[in-house]
Symmetry: C2
Subunit: 449 residues, 2 copies
């Protein structure tokens, strides 16, 4: 293997997890990474906290710099290099050095596509105005920070009430801006059921965010090239800064153009070992397809945890080992000031789409023993299959200590547990940590026959 | 069923969970509860926090008073009544009204023994001095509080470094006392492996507790009937207050005297439905045996969670339903000031006793993303079977947010997961809650082949 050349396209979580794993397994292997941006291995998830001022410098979000990869791992990490074309039959990629403008064909023995995902940013009237930002790369996070330092915006509009929208709303509230949020759905957090999403909507209002629900983005107003307003189908909101958090889309144009088959939401179809349909071409991370362990269907989710896992699996296989990525249960967590939000498994809508029948229970309890200082509310919603009682999903909204309980549900889901088995679990209890029945068990008890 | 008379001995977690369950299923059933103390359904686990001054009154620890049981649940809860004798063949118990001194035989159709456990308090020279306390009933907690109000002790010695010892040490430190702790083991927290126990010993020292490890209690010194010192096999420690936390022992003398077979550590042997060997006699809670799902052996543990679960199972069966208590994995959690401690499954010693071979990994990581404010250290130790990779146990010591992660391990253990399956789990990640790889997964990764 040692004489073979591995090219990795994309130098963030998946690509660099794979590259580092290959290096550990094979000290001699030639590994070249092409990364369009100036950064490698940064925490995209940390950017809202950078903008919130909770983190003092963008460098703190970088786990490992290109220099570190080159010097410590002997990985030829070339930032500022964009791959323009992929030729699977010729086993080569066409790469441009963005600074110098030069372009070369680079041969590979094995290729890993780890091109990630990009923020969805629809082209609308005024969408080229300055002050409108998506948030997907560290560079975009730094741009927002620089814009804020320069323009001192006072009114911000966040478009989209998903994770990025929530976290950016918190960040801008912390920075003292007046924040409005526009969401086309009935409630924010469309990955929760609307009844639980309503609790998150309440939480946003509680921290001072003005919500405009069931409103759609139509365009922007601007003056002298700077954004001045967000136009919805119902009103115009004044804005000095706009964050567009409408989700992400896998960066797979390169793969698609080379004939590599795509799957869910345009992500690259892969085997459990992370191999694409093209010989010697692998894919991992936000650009690659995943599998949903509860719906038993192909699934796509752009998350750092999944990218790290898929990258590690690809790295093991690329170095002659054997590993598979079994899939996900759709776990996610977020925070908006003091409020915590988490979900795993399927929502009611997703369950109905599968044609399953289900029962649901929602209980409000406490994060600690009721008498213990700092006990806060926690609302847990569980969904379980009718008849079998098999857990299908869980959602949590609450105060400090609430959200991480989702991991018990994610583990129970993965194991195929029933609500009875959840009730029977020997979970930890002491007054500073939990009521005697953990809140997830209190909800499960409501679903017992 | 409605005409039958259910007698419950013991009015705390197990007894009252059962009684309440029976009442919900059968509104007509005659239910009599005899409780020796003045209290029902209180949180024994909350007493250290009462003594710490974190909770303003003992009443806050009472979930449901005898009056509430009588009035709201129509349960004849008789506090101040001690059962002296049990006659299974005659289906009756001899009960004394502690206030009046009168004694009667009370017939039952079904009996539930829920007599709990008592603090182990060896009779030693000076052990009858005032100022020496165990901690098992709410009454004992109130006595400590009254003693402290009256005597204003300045130097406290805690004997025993288990959960109660730890939590009482925190309580007394919070109250401004000079606290010493005597433990006969190599480290405190003998339910952890010594290497993890050492972290807890360090934590205790850090919060100002003076530790005397590998020292045994020999007796007490006193003056005018008041304790003045604790004598160990190596020294005498001055003390105005002594807390004896040497564990608990099931209260099963009554059952044993009536010929009901006992099991592990003198707890009452029960079926999975919580039935004893005597006809129509059931047992639940700290006095009853449990089953360890990992060692596959009978087990005894005195914990509120187990008592509630066993009580509920007994209640379902006592009202004509069908339920079983599958067992425990030995999960426990505790807190000493800012330090959190948790364990589940088997320790190295317990694994060796079963003749299993195992691997172990201990990793130190962070409770949140490293760059996120408030990220604290967390040390996770995992134990897994050689060959199969099956998880056998886990231990956690760390700062805020560390301990409740034990629940993921408890769930994975119950499901029989391997370390690979633990690594593959879709656990939640966002910078305020976790690094990308949750600390339990970081430890599991070290155990992969």
């Amino acid at each position: 293997m040692s004489t073979q050349r591995l090219i990795v396209i994309g130098g963030d979580a998946a690509g660099m997890s794979a590259a580092a794993k290959v290096r550990r397994e094979d000290p001699q292997r030639e590994i070249v990474v092409f990364e369009r941006s100036p950064h490698t291995s940064y925490s995209a998830c940390g950017m809202p906290y950078l903008i919130a001022g909770l983190i003092d410098s963008p460098e703190r979000l970088v786990a490992r710099s290109p220099e570190k990869f080159r010097e410590k791992f002997n990985i030829d990490a070339r930032t500022g290099h964009e791959v323009l074309e992929l030729d699977p039959s010729g086993q080569r990629v066409r790469v441009t050095n963005l600074e110098q403008g030069s372009t070369t064909w680079e041969p590979y023995d094995q290729l890993l596509i780890a091109t990630g995902a990009a923020a969805i940013s629809p082209t609308l009237p005024g969408s080229d105005s300055e002050g409108i930002f998506g948030l997907s790369t560290l560079a975009s996070g730094i741009q927002i920070q620089q814009f804020m330092d320069r323009q001192l915006p006072r009114r911000a509009v966040v478009v989209g009430g998903g994770y990025i929208g929530l976290e950016m709303a918190e960040a801008l509230v912390r920075q003292g801006l007046q924040v409005s949020l526009v969401e086309k759905g009935e409630q924010v957090m469309g990955t929760l059921d609307p009844d639980m999403g309503a609790l998150v909507s309440d939480a946003l209002r509680e921290v001072g965010v003005t919500l405009y629900l069931q409103e759609s983005l139509v365009g922007y107003e601007s003056a002298n090239g700077l954004v001045t307003g967000v136009v919805t189908d119902q009103r115009t909101l004044q804005a000095d800064l706009v964050i567009v958090g409408l989700g992400t889309r896998p960066n797979t144009a390169l793969a698609a153009a080379s004939g590599i088959p795509l799957g869910e939401k345009g992500s690259i179809r892969v085997t459990p070992r992370m191999q694409t349909a093209a010989v010697n071409v692998w894919a991992a991370g936000d650009c690659a397809e995943s599998f949903h362990l509860i719906s038993r269907r192909p699934f796509h989710i752009a998350l750092g945890t999944v990218a790290n896992k898929q990258g590690t699996v690809a790295g093991i296989n690329l170095s002659g080992g054997y590993a598979t990525f079994p899939g996900v249960v759709g776990t996610a967590v977020s925070k908006i000031c003091k409020y915590e939000v988490a979900r795993t498994g399927l929502t009611e809508r997703e369950i109905r789409e599968l044609g399953l029948l289900y029962n649901t229970a929602t209980t409000k309890s406490k994060t600690r023993a009721g008498y213990y200082p700092g006990a806060g509310w926690i609302t847990v919603k569980l969904l379980a299959e009718q008849g079998s009682g098999r857990l299908l999903g869980g959602q949590i909204v609450g105060l400090e200590g609430a959200a991480k309980r989702i991991d018990v549900l994610a583990t129970a889901l993965t194991a195929g547990m029933t609500v009875q088995q959840l009730v029977d679990l020997d979970l930890s209890y002491a007054p500073p940590f939990s009521p005697v029945w953990d809140p997830v068990q209190t909800a499960a008890r409501q679903l017992l026959p």
